[in-house]
Symmetry: C2
Subunit: 193 residues, 2 copies
DNA sequence: TCGTATTTTACGAACGTTCGTCAGTTATGT
DNA sequence: ACATAACTGACGAACGTTCGTAAAATACGA
């Protein structure tokens, strides 16, 4: 399917150069067609962008939800750390998460409304499922008693900081160090000891 | 000084639209001149951008270093939390930190090398002074014994996550919640209890 | 199976706009 | 007068987009 090839190339250029910096001619060249041919598959640049955006959202959402639905253990230490590893893995094996991150925080101005909706929608869903997990662990007394929101937001903060380090991305060693440091302190902060 | 007005306007547009999305004509219009007049003060778009970048770097660096040089107390709880509040304050009262953050993580491709140098240079300096503070606190036994790098990186992670929330920026309540949650868990993670 | 009709896909050419930049000229103030 | 600053005018290049057309793939009836 050629439209998928186009979306792949578009993802790459949108991620590297942003919406304004990515040109249709570059994207077309990557696929081996002329830029006019893009209009056979998409209404225009905005349409292409929004389809790439929705694909990225779906990939990220399903990956994360799937992870939490799979686990049922009473072992938050393993599960939470595993989630951080999952995020790193997602980030490194496809570009969609990096694209998503860039557009979440620095959306093209004329599409910021539409993007913001998608971002909030995804964020809420992740937060809800995460918060209920933390509530379970609190009830089971495997982590410290607290408002479930506290470890939830703190953990989302750790995820964010790891993702930033991934975006920054030129230093594998530093990533590992930051991950270990953030995780160590976070886990000490929510576990009994 | 007109060149400062131009840099101010440029900062604004670079921050909102990125390098590629910001046009010299928009910037000039904001100042009340024609775009060609910008060349009286700057060699071109790149020159203008790099000057704005260096100004932003200096502001951020001096603000942060000044904060840590001012404090001498043995009260990390107050000082570290105060630093987070400082970051929030810096972010909200001028655009330079937001600009800096955007360009750190999503630099225009043809200037990424120059930008990366500046970023690494700043990051190192902040890390060094922060790490020595943590070492002092560890030696004074006011926080848990650990490699100084661990609380340093963890704290930098908290700073990053707060900054991301600031970029996201449309929800004051959520910012407060995330700050409290991250801080609570972080402090529990490095303090005796 | 073959030939034809229909749809899908890609293309060249061109559109109007905007981009960053350069050159030459006019106005302002010391 | 001289320097500084902002102007007008123009440049080539790139942008996203539209149009009409040719080729390629598909569907279909004989």
């Amino acid at each position: 399917m050629k439209s998928n090839e186009i979306k792949e190339a578009a993802l790459k250029y949108f991620t590297i150069h942003g919406y304004e910096g990515a040109s249709l001619s570059q994207i077309a060249e990557e696929v081996g067609i002329k830029k006019q041919s893009i209009y056979t598959h998409f209404k225009g640049k905005d349409d292409l962008f929004l389809q790439v955006l929705r694909d990225a959202k779906e990939t990220e959402l399903s990956s994360k939800l799937q992870y939490f639905n799979k686990i049922d253990s009473k072992n938050p230490e393993k599960d939470l750390y595993g989630f951080l590893k999952l995020v790193i893995d997602l980030f490194q094996k496809n570009e969609q998460l990096k694209f998503w991150l860039r557009m979440s925080f620095f959306p093209p101005a004329h599409l910021s409304k539409a993007i913001e909706e998608e971002v909030i929608n995804l964020e809420e869903k992740v937060q809800v499922v995460l918060e209920s997990k933390f509530q379970d662990w609190i009830d089971a007394e495997v982590i410290v008693r607290d408002a479930a929101k506290t470890p939830t937001f703190a953990f989302l903060g750790v995820v964010d900081s790891i993702m930033l380090e991934l975006v920054y991305g030129n230093d594998e060693k530093r990533l590992k160090d930051k991950l270990e440091a953030s995780w160590t302190v976070f886990w000490r902060g929510i576990s009994h000891r």
